[in-house]
């Protein structure tokens, strides 16, 4: 807790903010406009009490109405000036806030799309979500409205001081005497107030987490009858929340009285010394009233500036976290010369893309996350176009790594992987991915209709293609039984479908793209046998002219592979088709029989 606190209390790091203010550069003229409007508004704010002074000194005391028409006109002009400035600054600052939020968020999201899987394997989604939502929102707010308040506040203080000094410098000095204390008190209080509210926000985010868990886990909670227990845990948090919120509010409640007290000292001094001045004839009534107005008014800009400075300090952590996300360099990326030919994700130059045959070779590939634990070492593998390769082995044997490397989610540390004889790093990542059909163990669907999810595999798929793909994976029947058929909404993450149904759709979206390389990563574990069987027979046809890789536990899924690779500790320890491996009576045979009667297993040889 303490350690974390510290990284929030960082001193303002100008470098960080300079970078963020660079986003403002795109809106240079808008920002300059905003600053001008704020200065102008502060001027209007400071002139307003002057009107009272003029009314007293020029009209009431001399008992005249001469020039009143001009005075009224000036007043009307001031009103229009004021209102149009207010309109301008809110709409401009709002525009800057929204554009800034939009830009930062977009840049961060673009970066997220470019980052390789290694990043996602290391980073929790919740962390990224917080950066993408609240941190960015906060930065947009702090920067845009921060400019508003700081420019207005400092200008206002400056103009009021000048006005007072010009009117009566002696009296001005009395009033301004309180200001340094006011500034110190304001900065001090704004700091502790924000700090207190930060604690509140932290607890609040725990409450959010707790709500989120309570909601996502509600079904499970029900089956465990853990409602009471969860509620009691939750109550601890809400109790904490109340204590700390009240504490923060008490600090705020102390601030205003202290400030009012300080400015009342200013007013008292003006009454005393100004009153004496009136008696002596050195101060006019108008100036006396004007000074009292200014003394009352002065604390607002001081408070605003103090608040904004404290806010910037608070937002420092958000700023650093967001920039750290934007700054990350993806582990797997295309070089410049490759991007020039093949285009990037946003503008792929598909006209330059070679068709893919599907010959894949691993040449002395070494891979590890950490140098001491090598997952693959000098791994060699030659896969011919159209071959079906099954990968078998224990968890951690390296079979998933092989698939991750083929998909270029990761790249070899040493050695190379060649597709159709050319190192795949010489082509773009996008080129490869466009040609892969991939089905995962846990099928992830996107909210939208079933049709949209199937089209994820092929964005320009026709209705016929969609239905055909669904039929191939045996999803058509269940889809037609749904109330809206292909237009049925699948819900967030596909939540409205069963796991098996989701898996069928995810098969469908892989098949619809007619890929040259097919990867099934534990894809059949949650489909019922009959459906799986049907998919399998379809797959046999579909996989015919495609290079495919299958990771599976179920023997039935791998038995028809052209070649089965038994992987152990990053090495191929056996390879061959099912029949060969069973006859070989090696690791594979043992894996699937252990102490099994030979005859029975031999029966499985087709």
């Amino acid at each position: 807790m303490e350690i974390k606190e510290k990284d929030y209390d960082k001193k303002l790091d100008l470098k960080t903010w300079k970078r963020l203010f660079k986003y403002l550069f795109r809106y240079k003229y808008t920002t300059i406009g905003l600053i001008i409007f704020m200065i102008s508004l502060a001027l209007a704010d400071a002139i307003l009490p002057q009107m009272t002074r003029i009314a007293i000194d020029d009209f009431i005391i001399p008992n005249t109405t001469e020039g009143l028409n001009i005075f009224i006109l000036k007043f009307a002009g001031l009103a229009v000036w004021f209102a149009s400035n207010v309109f301008a600054f809110i709409s401009i600052a709002g525009r800057i806030e929204m554009e800034l939020t939009y830009d930062i968020r977009e840049e961060a999201f673009d970066k997220l799309q470019k980052l390789s899987l290694s990043y996602y394997d290391k980073t929790q989604n919740g962390w990224i979500m917080a950066r993408m939502t609240s941190d960015i929102r906060r930065l947009g707010e702090v920067i845009s409205w921060g400019i508003v308040d700081v420019v207005w506040g400092t200008t206002m203080m400056l103009i009021i001081s000048i006005f007072m000094l010009v009117s009566n410098w002696r009296l001005a000095l009395y009033t301004l005497a309180v200001i340094p204390i006011l500034i110190i008190v304001s900065i001090y209080f704004q700091k502790i107030i924000l700090k207190a509210y930060r604690t509140v926000r932290k607890i609040n985010s725990k409450i959010t987490g707790s709500f989120s868990e309570g909601i996502s886990g509600a079904k499970t909670t029900k089956t465990l009858v853990a409602e009471e227990k969860n509620l009691n845990n939750f109550k601890e948090l809400t109790g904490d929340m109340k204590t700390h919120s009240v504490r923060a509010a008490v600090f705020s409640a102390m601030f205003l009285p202290i400030v009012l007290f300080l400015s009342s000292i200013g007013i008292a001094l003006i009454l005393w010394k100004g009153g004496e001045g009136v008696v002596a004839g050195t101060v006019t009534y108008g100036v006396l009233v004007l000074f009292i107005s200014y003394a009352t008014q002065f604390f607002e800009p001081v408070r605003e500036v103090a608040r904004v400075l404290a806010q910037f300090q608070q937002a420092q952590a958000s700023a650093e976290r967001v920039l750290s996300l934007i700054d990350i360099d993806p582990d797997v990326k295309d070089g410049k010369e490759i991007l020039d030919i093949y285009g990037d994700i946003l503008e792929p130059k598909k006209e330059n893309w070679e068709p893919i045959e599907g010959n894949i070779s691993f040449e002395d590939v070494t891979f590890y996350y950490n140098e001491k634990e090598r997952i693959l070492e000098n791994f060699n593998l030659e896969v011919k176009k159209g071959e079906t390769i099954a990968l078998v082995g224990e968890t951690g044997s390296g079979k998933s790594t092989i698939v991750n490397l083929i998909c270029r989610f990761y790249e070899p540390v040493y050695g190379s992987i060649k597709i159709d004889g050319i190192d795949y790093k010489k082509r773009s990542i996008n080129w490869l991915h466009e040609n892969i059909g991939y089905v995962l163990q846990s099928p992830h669907l996107f909210s939208g209709t079933i049709k949209e999810n199937l089209m994820y595999g092929k964005l320009d798929a026709t209705d016929e293609e969609i239905v055909e793909a669904a039929k191939i994976v045996n999803a058509h029947d269940f889809i037609m039984e749904l109330p809206n058929k292909y237009e049925t909404q699948v819900g967030e993450g596909g939540g409205k479908l069963s796991t098996g149904e989701k898996q069928l759709i995810s098969f469908g979206r892989a098949i619809i793209r007619n890929p040259s390389i097919f990867v099934l990563d534990e894809a059949t574990s949650s489909i019922d046998t009959e459906t799986e069987r049907k998919i399998q027979s379809a797959l046999e046809r579909i996989l015919k002219n495609r290079t495919s890789f299958i990771i599976a536990h179920r023997l039935s899924t791998i038995v028809n592979a052209d070649r089965i690779l038994v992987i152990s500790k990053g090495k191929i320890i056996e390879e061959g088709n099912h029949n060969q491996l069973i006859r070989k009576k090696g690791y594979y045979y043992n894996l699937y029989s252990n102490q099994f009667k030979k005859e029975n297993l031999e029966k499985t040889i087709i």
């Binding site: 009314a55 009431i60 009103a79 979500m129 009342s264 008696v279 009534y285 994820y456 459906t531």
Partner: protein
């Protein structure tokens, strides 16, 4: 209005604190309004030496303090008076802040707890069909909106009322005509506020919804990152995101523009009002109708009252937000929760079960028969296996047992009691169910396994051993103290399922249900778990849904489901004798893996 009443009801016992807070506000306001009166007396009585208008009390006070001639030489006394009044005012202001914070935080606390409790007790069907993101949004930011309204704005309403009321009283005493002029534009400001409040309510709602959509898009992208990458759909995702990001920008900007219109127009009216007072003061003072001091009081007051009147617009706007939030929260609170009906019993449960002509359809889709005329009997301690295609009604059937859904047609008996007469929580404490996609809580593994009841470490380890997850947990650096989820390790689907199994079986339920809860576990582990369970449970009635014949072939009864009906029922040996669905599934799996697995199970299942 209905929502306003709801909001009022949320306050329950905190109403008195609110009242005290509002009284403090009133006193603070009254004192604040005294300061201009002192200025009036200083100008008129001491400096000019005229009769003071209307203001008898302050005049008497000054008489008491020494009278004109004394005070004119000792003006500091009036200054001290201002400081003293401000100090006392500060004390009331402090209490206003403190009390309203205590009250509103308490309301928020109660509301959070009530909502949390309610959500946990909503029906299974509700949770299955509800978008969690939306529910979380409502539970967090909507409560926050209400809290902010109650803590800040509620008291501000009180302040505005006192400010206007007391000022009016003083001003009328000073000069009635002048008062009418001073209040001339206020009705316009009120009407304008009201109109604004109508518009802003809608635009805020639209902006919030759009923010929620944006979050969902990011969340889904992060959850499905492997799919996005493998399909090379980064561009598609970026476009999808940009559209939502842009919608959010445009919609939120509309809110800001509404603010810009509101504030600029209301500021225009404000300055017009001030001008009106200043100019009239000139006329009236010149005609001798009011003194200079009185004019100063009017000008001073108009500056003070115009702000709270303007604030009313904002308060009404926030009231709008708060009412929207109230409505959104009430929507959840209005959802029917699972209740204990009077007369529900808590019988001792042994595990004899009978389904009698049970038909079932989901509450939200009455046309789709999920189960039709299902009848069967189970003796205590039997193992029942349920097989069938995806969507055949297997899961629904077992979900009825712990009353996750209530049966309306037909009846289910446990030990002769209709389960609709048994208390739900009691039933669930006796019927353990492991869901297909179980939820683990973000706490330690130890706590997850002993989630329902505090269990000792030995029991936790035993349960984990049976679920074949002990050795996995032991490999983690922190063992059973490893935290799962966002802040800790990410588990694979199979590991999650196994921990969920451990969490369920630790409780020694008389009835156990495995809802395809080993789908993500490999066959070997599946067998090991089943074997360990068989050894442990003797009298436990067990339901198993599985796609693997090898997991269920030794069940006492196998139920084959198709389209909500029982198609076949019997023992494995009997079912494979006749042509049917089961035989077909068996044939498919038999050759490939069944015998392998069975042999291995008999051999000890390593």
């Amino acid at each position: 209005m209905k929502n306003l009443k709801l909001l009022w009801n949320y306050m329950n016992e905190n109403k008195i604190k609110y009242l005290l807070s509002i009284i403090s506000t009133g006193l603070a306001v009254a004192l604040a309004l005294t300061v201009p009166l002192i200025l009036q007396v200083v100008i008129d009585y001491i400096l000019v030496g005229k009769e003071v208008q209307g203001n008898v009390f302050v005049e008497k006070l000054f008489g008491f303090l020494g009278g004109t001639t004394y005070l004119i030489d000792n003006l500091w006394i009036t200054g001290i008076l201002v400081i003293l009044i401000t100090a006392v005012q500060g004390i009331f202001l402090y209490y206003k802040g403190k009390l309203s914070a205590e009250a509103s935080e308490d309301v928020a606390k109660n509301l959070r707890e009530r909502l949390y409790d309610h959500i946990q007790h909503l029906t299974y069907a509700y949770h299955k069909n509800t978008d969690t993101g939306d529910l979380i949004q409502r539970s967090t930011s909507d409560i926050e909106t209400i809290r902010r309204f109650l803590s800040v704005q509620m008291v501000e309403v009180g302040r505005a009322v006192f400010m206007v009321g007391i000022s009016l009283y003083v001003m009328i005493n000073l000069n009635v005509k002048m008062t009418l002029i001073a209040m001339a534009t206020t009705p316009v400001l009120f009407v304008f506020s009201y109109m604004y409040f109508k518009v802003v309510q809608k635009s805020f709602k639209i902006s919030d919804e759009s923010e929620a959509e944006l979050s969902t898009i990011i969340q889904e992208n992060l959850n499905g990152v492997r799919v996005v990458k493998a399909f090379g759909r980064e561009k598609f995702e970026i476009e999808k995101f940009r559209e939502k990001n842009n919608q959010y920008k445009v919609k939120t900007y509309k809110v800001i523009m509404n603010l810009a219109y509101y504030w600029s127009i209301s500021d225009l009216l404000t300055i017009v009002q001030i001008a009106l007072v200043v100019v009239t003061s000139i006329y009236y003072a010149n005609q001798g109708l009011i003194t200079l001091g009185t004019a100063v009081v009017f000008i001073n007051y108009i500056f003070r009252i115009i702000w709270p009147i303007k604030q009313l617009g904002r308060i009404l706007a926030d009231l709008g937000k708060a009412l929207v939030s109230t409505e959104r929260i009430q929507e959840i609170l209005n959802e029917e929760r699972e209740v204990e009906k009077p007369g529900e019993i808590k019988p001792e449960i042994h595990g004899e079960i009978e389904f009698r002509n049970v038909s079932f359809e989901y509450p939200d889709d009455k046309n789709h028969k999920v189960l039709e005329n299902v009848s069967f009997k189970v003796k205590k301690g039997e193992t029942i296996a349920i097989v069938g295609k995806t969507g055949s009604g297997k899961s629904s059937l077992v979900h009825l047992l712990p009353r996750l859904y209530d049966v309306e047609k037909g009846e289910i008996l446990i030990d002769g009691h209709n389960i609709n007469t048994i208390q739900k929580k009691w039933l669930r404490k006796n019927v353990g169910i492991v869901l297909q996609e179980p939820f683990l809580y973000s706490t330690t593994i130890q706590e997850n396994i002993s989630f329902q009841n505090e269990s000792n470490i030995k029991d936790v380890h035993d349960a984990a051993r049976i679920a074949s997850v002990h050795h996995v947990v032991e490999e983690f650096d922190q063992g059973y103290d490893t935290i799962i989820g966002e802040k800790g390790v990410t588990l694979s689907g199979g590991q999650k399922q196994r921990i969920a199994i451990a969490r369920t079986i630790i409780n020694n339920y008389p009835i156990l249900i495995f809802d395809d809860s080993l789908s993500a576990v490999d066959t070997e582990t599946d067998i090991a778990i089943r074997k360990a369970l068989n050894e442990r449970k003797k009298d436990v009635t067990t339901f198993i849904i599985s796609h693997r014949i090898s997991s269920i072939y030794d069940a006492d009864k196998i139920i084959v489901m198709e389209k909500g009906r029982i198609k076949e029922m019997g023992k494995h040996e009997d079912l494979i004798q006749k042509e049917g669905i089961y035989k077909r599934i068996y044939d498919i799996q038999n050759v490939k893996e069944f015998e392998v697995d069975v042999e291995r199970r008999e051999a000890g299942g390593n």
